[in-house]
Amino acid sequence: MSHRELDDMLGRGWRKPHFIKNPALRYGLTAGFVAYLIAAFMTIEVDWGRVYEGLDRGWQFILAFTKPDFLSRWSDIWSGLLESIVMTVAASVVGILISIPIGLGAARNIAPLPVYMICRGIVAISRALQEIIVAILLVAIFGFGPLAGFLTLSFATIGFLSKLLAEDIEAMDKVQAEAIRASGARWMQWINYGVQPQVMPRLVGLSMYRIDINFRESAILGLVGAGGIGATLNTAFDRYEYDTAAAILILIIGIVMALEYLSGIIRARVQ
């Protein structure tokens, strides 16, 4: 760039340079996007008659929350809830235990390239397959029930936790780890002293968050036959028992909020 004389610059005003320098391209892209957005909304058909009828059904559903029925199906709700909790706890523990070595392997700054590629591959597969799809497949293999749900959640936990753990390891302070290596530590000791203390708070926080997600997911997985409270909820909807469904939803919301509160406390403790 040519040298700019100060005198030319003074009094000329200043604007932040545009992200896209070419004005034709900039306005073209904006106009194109707006046009697409309008066209996209036009393609969504709304049947107002159907909406009017549905409003009534929706209102019934909302009214059910004012008189949730915990009692008439209590034994179904209770066994569904227990199944979900068992699934959540078991899948979280297994998933977290498997995620730790894979997370170590998926961190470029501590793993050799072949290990890194394999672990990143596992993470990519786990993240590419949505829980529902995995659950449908596993229900087909193992049949209805919580085993399929447990395996689905374990699998999903690995993708989530390994990836985020690996990213935290990649962002760690290199010098702290270097100091441990300089003392003549073995690889395992180096991980235990130089790496683990740096990533522990995040690992605990993410694990708590994942337990929370796993519980919520367990309610969804029931819809495709993978056991848990979701199965009970699905049955209630099928029978148009909105008051029982409302009771189940209230329980799920309560448990998720309690888990959220608990994980907040634990995360504050481990900082």
């Binding site: 302070d173 010098v175 702290q176 270097e178 100091a179 441990i180 290596r181 300089a182 003392s183 003549g184 530590a185 073995r186 395992m188 000791q189 180096w190 235990n192 002293y193 130089g194 203390p197 740096q198 522990m200 708070p201």
Partner: protein, 265 residues
Amino acid sequence: MLRLQELTKTYKTGDQALKDIDLDVPKGQVLALIGPSGAGKSTMIRCINRLVEPTAGAVMLDDTDLTRLGSGALRRARREMGMIFQEYALVERLTVMENVLSGRLGYVGFWRSFLRRYPQSDVDEAFRLLDRVGLLHMADKRADELSGGQRQRVGICRALIQNPKLLLVDEPTASLDPKTSRQIMRLITELCRERGLAAIINIHDVALAQMFVPRIVGLRFGEIVFDGPPTALTSEKLTEIYGEEDWEATIEKVEDEDEDIEAAE
């Protein structure tokens, strides 16, 4: 005891950080390595314990060439070399005691270190060292609760508990105030004398180096351009190491400080 022979480090980018360095450090000698940023000071001490792999040349510690060691032998050799870091490099979420004991990792097995069950002799030595640097009461504090000077003292304990022959010290005072800097330099040189340790101390502060260290090596663009006692470090020599600048103030300040310290003692 330590001899660098034609030590060369070329980074992947093509930068030559060290060019055929030859340096001999006898047993128990403390030397300061000075030079401008980017002269290769940090690379040099990291090539000695191979936190950075040298490209060519040899690092002889007694009769072993460290550059040829396999990973197991390198680990055992690293036990002989304690390292003290710029910005302390303590593991911040571990306690002071765990940080000090981590200096013994090269000597204890994995499970002992994992369960923090160190041999009694190591624990006693850790307490002795913490007492020596005045931090015995801090043993169970987390490292990130300490001040800069305190952290560097813990760093010193961690290096010494390795029972090394040699200390590699990288900018020990870079983030400390002037008074703490002197205290830390005094502590390092005293401990080296007490234990007969050799040390290579990278340091930016020329005056501080002249004050505490009997031998100064000046590095410029990866080459040794000065090697001698502090008194031989004239303003011409400083110009050769760092480039043109008015050095009289630096040198005068040193003399004043020497008098101050003598008066205080």
